[in-house]
């Protein structure tokens, strides 16, 4: 140990550090919790601090290197209870979603504005270039910096809020677009809200309220899983398989256990074999249960072999190295089509995994569903088209990796503080694995640094819990960025074939979708992701005859699971590409052809009941099918067409710029449709109680991952109760304290948990009215109204919420006014969207540059237009990565070649296309205040829109993702463009 002295936030501070320790590690030890881990090699920038005033990733600065230097963290701004103007700008503009990297962004802004009080957008984007953000698409952070700069210069600044854009359609029919009308001009960060006459003006709902968690996030206050200190805490590390498929012949842990400071080594030899499926889903979880905590067989590079708990991370790493494992390496298979061929290696031959559909062919699930008679329609159909598409493997890449801390409390109950989207599922699923009863487990979800599906999984909670039992000490496990790549969860690769029969007038008669999904080493989410692919692939367009066939294959790739969009991005890429190809083959305008066939208001969604966890028999005709009860798609299309300059797609001079001979320009479109929760399955609960000052505590099971769920649910309750959002204190997701919720997935929170929040608030409101009626001497409580923090009689008299609270808690007929409700929906109203992109293709190199992305979304009523537009901006950028640059690359043995950010490329701030987001309001009667979902639909349209734009630019259709330069160049070569 060496003693170092740094000037930390203005104060001379000494600390002990080892030569290998990073400044990051020392700052965390000193309590600077705003500094967040993103990767050991510094690419995420989550751990950026100012070193002598310059923004640097503290993960790649050695502590000893910083000796004698000045270090600034965001805590330096937190000397008062208010916010610094930079922090205020980030809070106000919705620039924080999870806020995991908020400290880095605020510090970068500070340093930039000190150097340059009038930064250009390029300067700002350059400053942000080293802070990767998976959530906002950088749109609102850039706006935050511009506004902070203006405030600090003393310029006057307009309040940040939505721009109301007039409607262009009557809501039903297409608009005629004036090519000279460029649409609204405003900062891209400003949500364009297209109002609907159906939607009434409200006090809190529909307003761009500042997020309820903004203060703690923008100040970097300790709020995340890792931001606690527990005496005697041990650090866990996992030994991962170096082989894609192997049997463990022997494990010798003696040398590891002999290392002083090592407290436990767990592996299949000393851990009970309890079968489970790790996907965070409703009881009893889709089978098969094909996993155990530690197995005697490893099925992908990165699979678990053993876990260690030791007194430091370094000791744990050393102990992992000292575990001596002998493997019998087995032949492996990686491709889903190879895996289901006879003679392929059998990946789950163990006797204790039941319910594998065809074990010998690695087919874990097969399912089919049919309406009408597809084969007959293909025989009769005048025009039959077929296309096959291959979609690849990508990663959610939450900037906060998976992290869990477990300990036994004073009652010796198991406490698990964890970065999860599914605390209640985790509690239930964990119990049998660790041999404890559910009642003796408490799962706490603090703030989460993004999840996007990767955390819809009981991924590492069993490891820390096992180790906490073995050592009787708190145990912490955080995955490294590399482990996050090969040992967490990814998007399912698929091979998808669409076949369609079309009448001579362009009407779809039949559509058949066949999917072979690759679920990797284990089946977690394998059933449901592929089911969503079928649902989304066969719901967008009307056809009397539809058929879905699907095989889900085991392979030896790192495990696919949930990733925002679930199976929809795969399906809608294939579908929107296939429909585009049919239109071209028929000589039809693609958008017109799609419009002719897409589902409209009142149309049946005729596959929905037949596919999924609660599907009815896929071949039996039901009496009634769910219908589309709200759709703003024509308005979405019109706003999007105007924004992207859609008329230019036919302008040859624009498509082939004379001064850039190797460039071709193109525009592309995709029709998008998603769901709002899982009908008959997802459920959310909420309870609300009044406090002495007329504020309310609201407990929700819903799991805010940075999405703004707590804020949206609070707005819904505030609207019902006639108070301000700040009067609702939201606490979410603690299995001992809050009601149940299935969790943050399937675009369910606003629609499902939001309805629960509304219902609970209505229970409270009813009782408030009864008591207020007594206080005011009004006979009919239902004649009272709640607004402006008071309860009003028809004659204008009122009592304030505080007076009512004091009266009922302390003065007369004392009671705690409170209400609880939960909600499950039989409906799943679809949000719709029009995705447009503008691109340039370099025909000599194949490089595709995306110039602009516009998405116009009908998400019903946007409860909070700022957070809703943030969801769309961030989702589109993830979708852009899927389409354009992100991919898992492997060697022949199944080892990932690019398990670092950089080689695995996600978009950064200084290379972003322009984006524009429209929120087209419709009133969905079944949703809370008319809301539908918005979280996942932005993932659906970017890839097909880019593909279709490449066709517009070059005439060449590419059916494999992503559109990396060599792939595009090869396709152009084959087509001789």
């Amino acid at each position: 140990m060496t003693t170092i002295t740094i000037e930390l936030n203005g104060e001379s501070t000494t600390a002990e550090a080892e030569p290998h320790e990073s400044l990051f590690r020392v700052l965390r030890r000193l309590g600077m919790f705003s500094v967040k881990y993103g990767s050991a090699t510094g690419e995420t920038g989550a751990a950026a601090v100012l070193l002598d005033g310059a923004l640097v990733s503290s993960e790649v600065v050695l502590a000893l290197q910083a000796d004698g230097h000045r270090v600034t963290t965001v805590e330096s701004l937190n000397t008062e209870s208010g916010l610094h103007p930079i922090q205020a700008a980030f809070a106000m503009t919705g620039a924080l979603q999870s806020g995991y990297s908020a400290g880095a962004m605020v510090l970068g802004t500070m340093a930039l504005l000190e150097r340059n009080p009038v930064p250009s957008e390029d300067d700002i984007r350059d400053m942000l270039s080293g802070i990767l953000d998976r959530e906002t698409g950088y749109v609102k952070p850039v706006e935050a910096v511009l506004r902070a700069a203006a405030v600090m210069r003393g310029d006057s600044v307009e309040p940040f809020g939505p721009l109301i854009v007039p409607t262009m359609t009557d809501g039903t029919n297409p608009a005629t677009i004036d090519p000279n009308d460029g649409g609204p001009t405003a900062s891209p960060a400003v949500p364009r809200v297209v109002p609907s006459i159906d939607v009434p003006e409200m006090a809190v709902v529909g307003k761009g309220e500042v997020k309820v968690d903004a203060l703690k996030l923008v100040k970097g206050n300790p709020a995340f899983t890792d931001d606690i200190e527990l005496r005697g805490m041990l650090y866990a590390k996992v030994l991962h398989s170096p082989h894609a498929y192997a049997r463990i012949v022997s494990i010798d842990d003696a040398a590891a256990l002999a290392l002083p400071g090592v407290h436990a080594v767990l592996h299949h030899g000393n851990t009970p074999r309890v079968k489970y499926a790790s996907g965070g889903q409703s009881w009893p979880n889709p089978h098969p249960y094909d996993q155990v905590s530690f197995d005697d067989t490893v099925r992908h590079v990165g699979d678990r072999v053993a876990a260690v708990a030791a007194e430091s991370i370094e000791l744990a790493e050393e102990a992992v190295r000292l575990i001596d494992v002998t493997y019998e390496v087995l032949p492996a298979v990686f491709d889903e089509l190879e895996a289901i061929k006879p003679g392929a290696p059998v990946i789950h031959s163990e006797a204790d995994t039941d319910e594998i559909y065809d074990r010998d062919r690695n087919i874990v699930h097969r399912f089919e569903a049919e309406r009408g008679d597809v084969e007959a329609a293909f025989v009769a159909g005048p025009n039959v088209f077929e296309g096959t598409f291959r979609v690849h493997q990508v990663q959610p890449v939450p900037i906060e990796p998976h992290i869990s801390i477990a300990w036994l409390d004073s009652d010796e109950r198991m406490i698990v503080r964890t970065a999860t989207q599914v605390p209640f599922h985790t509690r239930r699923m964990l119990a049998p694995l660790i041999g404890m009863e559910i009642k003796n487990i408490r799962v706490i979800k603090p703030r989460i640094g993004g999840g996007f599906g990767a955390k819809q999984e009981m991924l590492i909670e069993d490891i820390v819990a096992h180790l906490a039992i073995a050592t009787r000490r708190p145990v912490r496990l955080e995955l490294t960025r590399e482990e996050e790549f090969w040992a967490s969860r990814t998007r399912h690769p698929q091979t998808i074939t669409f076949r369609s029969a079309v009448d001579d007038d362009g009407t779809l008669i039949a559509q058949h979708m066949r999917v072979v999904g690759n679920t990797g080493a284990y089946g977690t989410h394998g059933y449901t992701v592929q089911a969503v692919s079928g649902l989304r692939g066969l719901t967008s367009y009307n056809a009397p005859n539809k058929r879905f066939d699907c095989d889900v294959a085991y392979t030896n790739i790192p495990i696919p699971g949930a990733y925002r969009g679930y199976g929809a991005p795969q399906a809608e890429f294939a579908l929107e590409s296939h429909m585009e190809d049919i239109a071209h083959a028929l000589g039809r305008d693609p958008l017109e052809f799609k419009r002719q066939n897409w589902v409209k208001l009142g149309d049946e969604m005729n596959m929905a009941p037949h596919i999924g966890e609660r599907a009815t028999d896929g071949t039996v005709e039901l009496d009634e099918y769910p219908r589309v009860m709200s759709s703003g798609i024509e308005e979405c299309v019109a706003q999007g067409q105007r924004s992207i300059g859609w008329h230019r797609r036919l302008d040859a001079a624009w498509r082939q710029p004379a001064d850039r001979p190797h460039i071709r320009r193109g525009l592309g479109f995709a029709f998008c449709m998603h769901g709002s929760g899982i009908p008959f399955l997802d459920m959310g609960g909420c309870s609300i109680k009044i406090n002495d000052d007329g504020s309310f505590n609201m407990l929700v099971g819903a799991t805010d991952l940075g999405t703004g769920a707590d804020t949206v649910l609070g707005q819904i309750a505030a609207e019902v109760l006639g108070v301000r959002l700040e009067d609702i204190i939201v606490y979410s997701s603690d299995t001992d304290v809050t009601p149940f919720d299935t969790g943050a997935y399937a675009s369910s929170t606003t629609y499902i948990s939001g309805t629960a929040a509304k219902m609970a608030a209505e229970v409270v409101r009813k009782r408030i009215k009864e008591r207020a009626a007594e206080m005011l001497g009004v006979e009919e409580p239902c004649t009272l109204e709640l607004h402006d923090r008071s309860i009003w009689a028809p004659d204008g008299r009122s009592v304030t919420m505080e007076e009512l609270a004091l009266h009922t808690l302390h003065w007369e007929d004392q009671e705690q006014i409170m209400g609880t409700a939960s909600f499950m929906s039989p409906d799943c109203p679809p949000p719709f969207a029009a995705q447009f992109v503008e691109i340039e293709v370099d025909t000599q190199t194949g490089q595709v540059e995306v110039i602009k992305m516009t998405m116009a979304v009908d998400c019903g009523v946007a409860i909070n237009p700022i957070t809703a537009s943030g969801q769309v901006e961030g989702g589109m950028v993830q979708a852009l990565g899927y389409a354009h640059c992100e991919e898992y690359a492997y060697d022949d043995e199944g080892r990932m070649l690019n398990d670092r950010l950089g080689p695995y490329k996600i978009y950064r701030a200084d290379e972003m296309p322009q984006t524009e987001v429209f929120l087209v309001q419709t009133l969905e009667d079944s949703g809370p205040f008319g809301a539908k979902a918005v979280a996942e639909i932005p993932k659906d349209g970017v890839a097909p829109a880019i593909r279709n734009a490449i066709i517009n630019a070059t005439g060449v259709a590419i059916n494999n993702l992503p559109f990396t330069p060599e792939r595009v160049w090869s396709a152009l070569q084959s087509a001789e463009v």
Binding site: V56, Q65, D67, Q847
Partner: protein, 238 residues
């Protein structure tokens, strides 16, 4: 990552040279690669930050860049030629650019480094602590030896320059990039993404390149790119 077991911060070049002469010693310039290089061998770091080597100064038709000048200071300096400034900016994002140094970039000699390619076409020579002055292309060919300490890099200023690159995204590390500069005597071209280190190329020598293929670009594709991009650079310079 290396197993870091010792740390030294010498105050003079002589001390630094002495320290670097020991076994398992590695010079610490900026530190951006130390966290992902190395095979787990124990090493002691010799931190160069206190050697006073971060200066940048114009010297007639050349610019002297101290070995520990950061990429950010290159990008910010108006005496540094524009191509080098933009290459320094392109090589690292904001949070690593104030750490990474020109000496470290030359020492690491990453085959994808635009900065190293830009230095090559600006006739860079590398000055070592033992007063050797070696053309950069020679340093890249020979690689550094144990004990070598770069103290500065000298580049020629002036002359029209051009850059052409192909990447997955606009700011991604290019799959292949070509830079060019018209000097007083000749036009120099350099390419990255076509070998283990960035290298000087000529139109005539492109056929002799033997690029490594990887998931971002096969060898054949890289060969195609270097020809296309070289033609573009020459077209821009003509």
């Amino acid at each position: 990552m290396h197993q870091l077991v010792g740390y030294h911060r010498p105050e003079s070049i002589e001390d630094a040279v002495g320290l670097l002469d020991g076994p398992n010693r590695v010079a610490l310039a900026g530190g951006t690669t130390i966290f992902h290089d190395g095979g787990g061998n124990p090493v002691e770091l010799v931190d160069l930050q206190s050697l006073g080597l971060s200066g940048i100064s114009a010297n007639g038709s050349r610019v002297e860049i101290g070995a520990t000048a950061t990429l950010q200071s290159l990008a910010d300096s108006d005496v540094i030629p524009d191509l080098i400034r933009s290459a320094a900016k392109a090589d690292q994002p904001s949070t690593l650019r104030s750490l990474a140094t020109v000496g470290g970039s030359v020492g690491a000699a990453d085959g994808d480094s635009l900065l190293v390619a830009a230095l090559l076409v600006h006739d860079a020579t590398v000055a070592f602590a033992d007063e050797r002055l070696v053309p950069l292309e020679q340093v890249l060919a020979d690689r550094l030896s144990q004990g070598d300490l770069i103290v500065s890099v000298s580049v020629a200023s002036g002359g029209p320059t051009a850059m052409a690159a192909t990447g997955r995204t606009p700011k991604d590390v290019p799959i292949v990039a070509v830079v060019g500069r018209v000097g007083p005597d000749d036009t120099r071209l350099a390419a990255c993404g076509v070998g283990p280190v960035p290298q000087l190329v000529t139109v005539g020598s492109l056929g002799q390149l033997d690029p490594p293929g990887d998931f971002r670009g096969t060898a054949a594709y890289r060969m195609h790119l270097v020809k296309v991009l070289t033609a573009r650079v020459l077209g821009e310079l003509s």
